[in-house]
Symmetry: C2
Subunit: 435 residues, 2 copies
């Protein structure tokens, strides 16, 4: 049952509790396990991957099938329906078009005589993409992670994903990988796969950036190897916050909440409305839509633990509460969504109006669906082309320009007690410095 809260203080407490739903005391133990896995992969390479895959996934992999073959990808194309293939192609096309729109570009400027400053953008050499297995093995994850790397012109895009029964990989995932420009796929998952991407093995190349969602072990492994490689973010369970007013349709809002809850028992689904009858209507609709839901148990669990409806005085108050929570997904099912948007300070993605369910963005609108969770929207953004690029600052001074700033640099090097910093300028100004 979806609870309704009308008290503001209680609402804030509840949002805090939901935001912190992944904090638990087991992390310390999980961290030790992850550290051991990483150390073992660094030491034993492929063999460690084979052993852990036997142990955790109960699948047999070895040198001959660690890398997914071209034949296996060809077969995958035969295994999926024509409809699914064209949907994957449409999604890939639209995601690529969106990500092409603002690719960082190198530039230089000439602020004063004899000075050139700028930025030169380059892609990383190798990107590593983690794709979960089992229940969360999604072709859309592949598209959303690989296409930005492709747009960034990353030469090698390396994907890892754990094998299912019979050491198989979901064919839709293989097709998506092929369509998205993944250059190689390895049949391994978990913290061991992250370790392989960070440090390399006999077969798997070490990469520069690792992206993609995963369970707690994958996330802890990404945090552990961060610094050796770049990572996109520390993904937590998914969440949606819907702000809706009296013109919203409770049937649609209920479906939107359930579309989040059905992901994971830890998923959060929050509605904030200024209209009590809508709250009540959604509450009823959720029960109704859950009746024959194929993922009923899991979804009900998420709704019971991390579902809530908050009724506020007005929509501005709703926006304030949303800013406190900083949701991954924010739907504005209100009369004037663009006006309300100006009150939003933190959200991973904003879905405006009544006919923009989150699913549109999850699959094919174009913007990335890999978004900051658990309040990270306060400081982080979606995965993007930028995730796979970096820049070098460019600085050139001619002798005259250096002369002009030399006194100021000298004053600063003296204040900081760094004599050779000063010498590196002084010796260039003073002709006595010539050899």
């Amino acid at each position: 049952m979806l609870r309704i809260i009308t008290d503001k203080g209680e609402a804030k407490q509840e949002l805090k509790r939901i935001e912190n739903r992944t904090h638990n005391d087991e992390t310390h133990i999980q961290e030790s396990i992850v550290k051991e896995i990483i150390a073992t992969v660094r030491k034993h390479g492929n063999q460690a991957l084979f052993d852990y895959t036997q142990k955790f996934d109960r699948q047999t992999i070895n040198e001959s099938n660690l890398k997914v073959s071209g034949a296996e990808i060809d077969t995958a194309y035969q295994q999926i329906s024509r409809d699914l293939l064209s949907a994957i192609k449409l999604a890939a096309k639209q995601i690529e078009a969106f990500h092409q729109q603002r690719v960082p570009k190198s530039w230089v400027s000439f602020p004063t005589d004899g000075v050139t400053l700028g930025r030169r953008y380059t892609p990383v050499d190798r990107a590593g993409l983690y794709v979960p297995g089992g229940r969360a093995s999604y072709p859309s994850t592949v598209l959303m992670n690989a296409i930005p790397a492709k747009v960034a012109k990353v030469p090698r895009i390396v994907m890892v994903t754990p094998p299912s029964e019979g050491a198989k990989i979901n064919p839709a995932v293989l097709v998506a990988a092929s369509e998205a420009g993944v250059t190689e796929i390895y049949r391994v998952g978990g913290a061991q796969a992250v370790a392989a991407l960070a440090y390399g093995t006999e077969t798997i190349p070490n990469v520069d950036v690792i992206t993609g969602p995963g369970n707690i072990f994958v996330t802890l492994a990404k945090k552990e190897v961060f610094g050796t490689v770049g990572i996109d973010s520390l993904a937590g369970p998914s969440e949606v916050l819907v702000i809706a007013d009296k013109q919203a349709n409770p049937v649609h809002v209920a479906a939107d909440l359930l579309a989040q809850a059905e992901h994971d028992p830890l998923a959060a689904a929050i509605l904030i409305t200024d209209y009590l009858p809508l709250a009540q209507g959604v509450q009823k609709e959720v029960v109704k839509q859950l009746e024959n839901h194929p993922r009923k148990v899991l979804t009900e669990k998420a709704i019971a633990h991390y579902g809530v409806v908050i009724v506020t005085e007005n929509l501005e108050e709703a926006a304030q509460l949303s800013n406190l929570f900083a949701p991954e997904h924010l739907e504005l099912e209100v009369e004037e969504p663009w006006e309300l948007m100006t009150h939003i300070r933190h959200a991973g993605a904003i879905f405006l109006g009544n006919s923009t369910p989150e699913a549109v963005g999850d699959y094919l609108a174009g913007p990335n669906h890999t978004l900051p969770t658990s309040g990270a929207a306060r400081y982080a953004s979606a995965l993007g082309v930028e995730t796979f690029m970096k820049y070098s600052s460019l600085i050139e001074y001619n002798p005259h320009a250096l002369q002009k700033v030399s006194n100021a640099i000298m004053a600063l090097t003296e204040a900081e007690g760094l004599p050779s910093h000063g010498d590196s300028v002084k010796l260039r100004i003073n002709p006595d410095g010539k050899p």
Copy 2:
């Protein structure tokens, strides 16, 4: 003594050793200490800060002096020279001008009828800036961290820095903070200050992003709180790689190497040249310039352990070796620096030509001096305005546009086994979905 290496295999090994110079076995113990400090600050707030400051910095702080007062900042302006004040002002002006040049801007696009997509950029609410104490208490650090936050229009810029003897703060640091737009300063450092910024105490507000360099405890604390807050990077000791050809001046190159080495016994100073006489000239000059160096012991140590000259066949090979190392600072003291630059794939900042010593960029050219270290330039960039901003993706579909993509979304939701995702679209298309 600066060693000269001419063997390519040995050169690669040596660069690898230098890159990994911060890897050590003590990290595990240090991590436990840092975790304990963070837990204690979360539990005891200010009192934990006072206790740790007594223990680690041997200074007494309390509720009355934790926050630096306006009067103390006024006094600092009296304590520094006019020359230093104008140097700080010039640097602040130029750093601000550079960072203003490419501030991320919100945008929308209309890819097809009835579809609006875009990005909306917003600053974080609060930025936290760590400034080291003691030997590494630099006004330039303050400018380089605070000005991008100011340009991003972050409402609160919170600085922490450990107290020196008499619980004092370096006056040049206080002046720089004031000039750069820092809104509040707290007299506390170490892992405890990072914990305070991440979780807040009775006096210090919790922030959204923590930036700034620090010792190993500060760096480990930043890694630990990453996910609760954003961080800039995991800063290691500084490094320079100079590529120079026969027209370079050995006196200048030697000064450039020493300007890096004088920072820290772990600093790295590498020269790669295609001209053996330059290698030999620089080797001699380093000895000479070290003779009366005020930081001789420390600087000699860095040069002995992490200084090296590599002689290559040609400059392209030099660029390849540089790409392997991915240096924080790269100086190109060659005839055609812009041409050689096109062979560079990874570097935090590139200083082009003979009259652009790194010190120009360290202090006042404008680009940020907070750069990726220890090979992180393979995937990361300088600190920037972007560090203090994030965006929300914007998506709006009208009913007609939603209808057009509904079949494709359905195919994908079915493939992923997420029925409510499908319902959230289907119920909007099918008029029976109306309440």
